[in-house]
């Protein structure tokens, strides 16, 4: 002990760029013992696919979409995938994040090290994206197994799922910093359920009344659903870039706000 303390001190190298990855490492350690909670994020969308896509799909048959007739299960699967990407990224950036910053003071300990608030926010988002990427890959493989993926554009399905995850992870983190108590999480549910049901996930936008259509076009999950559906069905258009930009900006703004708010909350 005395030799080590008394001897010359060598500064640890400061890999500023790698710092957010330490958050990922921490989360891997934390989940190593409870890996099974991971599984719900995979089974939930698959169960929806089986019950709605295949079950309801039998009744619905084919839908007119973008000038073609599309099998209902092919129509609904990308919607479910986009929703799964949203939900997967929100698990660790809302509820779990709230516990860590408000109750277990995990971040106070981390911020006493070279990691800063930006590293913490970025790290949590990266982790959420990794988790989301695993879910969406598994879901995509399930879709392939059921023969629901006609287009090679589907290779971009997972990257776009990560983009959807980024948008919601950033927004989730930022939003959670404004929450005062558990009660406020009811608002999250209140926002997510309609997003899940009405983002053209289960039926085409044209089915909605005109006024509602305009609103839906502005909501975030809709952007993801449009993107994923276009990729799966191979209906590519330039306007898709607008939807992608929407998600990218949403994530980036969320991340910035979150980093600033974490600083304000934890380092008064």
């Amino acid at each position: 002990m005395s030799a080590r303390m008394g001897s010359m001190r060598v500064l640890p190298p400061l890999g500023a760029r790698q710092r957010p990855w330490r958050m990922v490492e921490r989360n891997v350690l934390a989940y190593r013992r409870t890996w099974y909670v991971f599984l719900s994020g995979f089974f939930e969308p698959v169960l929806f696919l089986l019950s709605i896509g295949i079950g309801v799909g039998k009744l619905v048959g084919k839908l007119p979409f973008d000038g073609h007739l599309v099998d209902y299960k092919q129509f609904v699967a990308p919607g479910l995938l986009a929703s799964a990407a949203m939900n997967g990224s929100l698990l660790d950036t809302t509820f779990n994040f709230f516990v860590k910053y408000k109750y277990s003071h995990t971040y106070d300990a981390i911020l006493a090290t070279p990691l800063g608030t930006g590293d913490v926010a970025t790290g949590e988002v990266v982790w959420a994206l990794m988790r989301g990427a695993i879910y969406s890959t598994a879901f995509l493989l399930t879709m392939v197994a059921f023969g629901l993926v006609p287009s090679w554009w589907a290779l971009l399905v997972v990257p776009v799922a990560v983009l959807i995850g980024f948008a919601f992870a950033g927004a989730g983190l930022a939003g959670t910093t404004f929450m005062r108590s558990w009660v406020d999480f009811d608002y999250v549910t209140l926002a997510l359920v309609p997003l899940f049901l009405f983002s053209a996930t289960f039926f085409p936008l044209s089915q909605y009344p005109a006024g509602l259509q305009a609103v839906i076009r502005l909501t975030p999950l809709y952007q993801g659903v449009v993107l994923e559906r276009a990729l799966v069905l191979g209906h590519m258009q330039w306007t898709l870039l607008v939807h992608a930009a929407y998600l990218a900006v949403m994530g980036a703004v969320g991340l910035r706000v979150a980093a600033r708010r974490i600083g304000r909350l934890l380092q008064p």
Partner: protein
């Protein structure tokens, strides 16, 4: 020697409230420096500014020759922090707490493993390495927090009330560990509201009250400068008696401080004063002569006791 930490007119405001009110202090390498003060004195606020997790509101602060506002990450890389409230990672085991903390400092895993073994030994938690954090006792958590703070072999260890809430045995064990660290050349900066802790551990300390420094020096110098050599403690059966006796006692000694259940009489010759009090028939239920301590310094300077 260049100071390790230097504060000039250091100020911390929360909104309109001034928690640290323009304090000056210098901490040199290898010393054990203490902030002694009652609740709300501004000790933690000061520590958090030194730890670069709370922005300075006014004045200047240099830590390890750097500016916390600009070089926070570099400074934190060389500090060890034991916060007032334990914030161990409750989702991880004892061992993983040390491993991941080392990773936050970007240390290679093999090196962290080596240090973690050594540190668990040092704080006597080797047999709990695979335990979760929650079932540990308060003293064990505190020791683990100290081990965690040492994983980066810090030059400065910041300890915010390291032994508050511990039983006497656990406190003494922690003091002994801290003493060994000091022997190894680690600079200790600690806060406490226990004067015995300050006397045991600190080479130098400042006494804080309401955001200001009211006195500074070694424990011995502080007592010599601000208190008398001895104190006579007079206890009375009832508060009314104590109240009635106060004026009488004041005629016998230049300095008398009434506290909740006692009169403290400051004197250089305790036995003579005790005899005088007894002869005068003040009617104290008990008379005790003892040496003056930091507690007395605080009482004399502020008119209040530390732990009220």
């Amino acid at each position: 020697m260049d100071p390790l930490i230097e504060a000039r007119a250091l100020t911390k405001r929360f909104g309109g409230f001034v928690a640290v009110d323009g304090i000056d202090f210098v901490i040199r390498p290898g010393e054990a420096f203490g902030f002694l003060g009652p609740n709300g004195a501004g000790k933690s606020s000061t520590m958090r500014m030194i730890g670069c997790v709370s922005p300075v509101s006014g004045g200047t602060l240099r830590v390890l020759g750097m500016d916390p506002a600009a070089d926070g990450a570099q400074i934190r890389a060389r500090l060890g922090v034991v916060p007032q409230e334990d914030n161990l990672d409750t989702e991880l085991t004892v061992w993983d707490n040390l491993m991941i903390y080392g990773r936050y400092f970007d240390l290679p895993r093999a090196e962290i493993r080596r240090r973690a073994e050594e540190l668990l030994e040092f704080v006597q938690l080797t047999d709990r390495r695979d335990s979760r954090v929650d079932p540990l006792s308060g003293g064990m958590k505190r020791r683990l927090t100290i081990a965690r703070a040492l994983i980066n072999e810090p030059e400065v260890l910041l300890l915010d009330e390291p032994t508050t809430g511990l039983d006497p045995q656990a406190r003494h064990m922690l003091w002994e560990r801290l003493y060994r660290l000091k022997q190894d050349g680690v600079t200790l900066v600690l806060t406490t509201h226990y004067m015995d802790e300050a006397e045991q551990l600190c080479d130098r300390l400042v006494i804080m009250d309401a955001g200001r420094i009211v006195a500074e020096g070694s424990p011995r110098d502080l007592v010599a400068t601000h208190a008398t050599r001895e104190v006579v403690e007079l206890r009375f059966g009832r508060a009314a008696e104590q109240h009635a006796a106060l004026a009488r006692v004041r005629t016998l000694a230049p300095r008398v401080e009434p506290v909740a259940d006692r009169l403290l009489v400051y004197t250089d010759d305790g036995d003579a004063t005790a005899a005088a009090v007894t002869a005068d028939g003040v009617g104290a239920a008990s008379v005790l002569v003892r040496r003056a301590s930091l507690e007395d310094v605080f009482l004399i300077l502020t008119g209040r006791t530390l732990e009220e």
